[in-house]
Symmetry: C2
DNA sequence: AACTAAAGTGAGTAATCACTCATTTTTTAT
DNA sequence: ATAAAAAATGAGTGATTACTCACTTTAGTT
């Protein structure tokens, strides 16, 4: 059904390659098994002993690589958190906007298609992230401080940019961002979490969704 | 901060008054403690022993009233699930629509204000419901079969009604419902879950949100 | 007051939990 | 080939888990 996670690509090394460059085969199996279990049963209903069993590895091996169970969770979830919203964190955003996107609509289409690919590829981990964020302070503060605020700042700039061009109606940028994000987030949520088995026409739905946003906020 | 749950009102009796009419004082304290803990730490990270401690009750008392821990969860969550979407399940919907709401906009304003009150009152339990639905088959199937489908049918009728009046642009009703629900759900999510501490101007936000929906889907 | 049913108790149960560590196996460097 | 380092093991740890049960207390009825 869903595509397999590409463990190698996502977990290569956290920041630079200061940390070890590769993963042990068994370490990979541990991550795969943990991702499976966490997304199926939730973090705290998943026992390390069953993760070990699924990975066909001794339980001790898990704790050789990850000091605690929570560290294992963070190792899984942190890289997607960083990459999920990465496209929003760009230098010289203003130049990029002027060059690449002549309308808010173009910008939205590009960003959604791009993020949809990513989500599709890492849907299990995205699920875990969404599920566990409310219960782990480290996760929440990491998300809000490091990612959320930065992304929000960029989005503010983008919306202001197109408002100044007279393309979007004047309303608090905060509200504009919320409405845009809700519409797109609502689509992705319905598409991948609520009714993933439904027979979706992605192209068509995306078109409707973005037209809806544009009409809803169009300056007239 | 948040308002207290009104245990008495919500848990009076499941269906008719066939079941016992009231709750023991200790039973009430158990429910209050469990709601608190489940919403703070999640269902499976909450132990029955700590629930008992918070309720100042012997652990055995919990199991006198609820055979299992999961039965306790269902006792908490089922009544809000029923009441949350109850206003959508109305007989003679068409008459109600024609009499009470002359536009889709009026309908939306009424329904959102009504549901916002309910969510505000029972926000902890709504959180629990959202958190636990993915992990409990009984919950999910109950929600989809008994509530979801019925509500969806009504919404379909409502959207068709206003499309026929020429008020809404022609698009698949499914898509129209999704877009409407995303916009409103996005507001409620931001308002009560993502940034509950933010200084919200509810009236203003609601106005923007509904204008956004109306413009986005207006027939022109 | 006497009887009954329901409510409440808390010590006890087996199972499971995350995690440790002494030891063995495998990989790497020389 | 040999030594050193890293990876892997699995039996064992005390703590905690959901749940039971024989028993006591409370509430309601006559």
């Amino acid at each position: 059904m869903g595509k397999q996670e590409d463990i190698n690509e996502l977990f290569k090394s956290s920041e630079s390659d200061v940390y070890g460059e590769g993963l042990t085969p068994k370490q990979k199996r541990i991550l795969e098994a943990a991702i499976q279990m966490f997304s199926e049963k939730g973090y705290s209903s998943s026992s390390t002993s069953e993760i070990a069993k699924r990975a066909e590895v001794a339980e001790g091996t898990i704790f050789r690589h990850y000091k605690t169970k929570k560290e294992l969770l963070l190792a899984i979830v942190t890289p997607v958190m960083s990459n999920l919203l990465a496209p929003f964190i760009i230098r010289d955003l203003d130049k990029v906007l002027k060059k690449n996107y002549k309308s808010y609509e173009d910008f939205l289409i590009a960003i959604v298609k791009n993020r949809q690919e990513f989500i599709e590829k890492h849907i299990s981990i995205v699920k875990i992230l969404i599920q566990e964020i409310p219960f782990h302070d480290e996760l929440r503060s990491q998300f809000i401080d490091r990612i959320g605020k930065e992304v929000y700042t960029r989005l503010e700039a983008i919306v202001s940019h197109f408002q100044a061009k007279g393309e979007l109606v004047e309303m608090p940028t905060q509200t504009a961002i919320r409405l845009t994000a809700s519409s797109i987030g609502g689509f992705l949520f319905a598409r991948y979490i609520l009714l993933p088995e439904h027979d979706w026409n992605d192209e068509e739905e995306l078109k409707h969704t973005i037209h809806f946003i544009m009409n809803g906020m169009k300056a007239r």
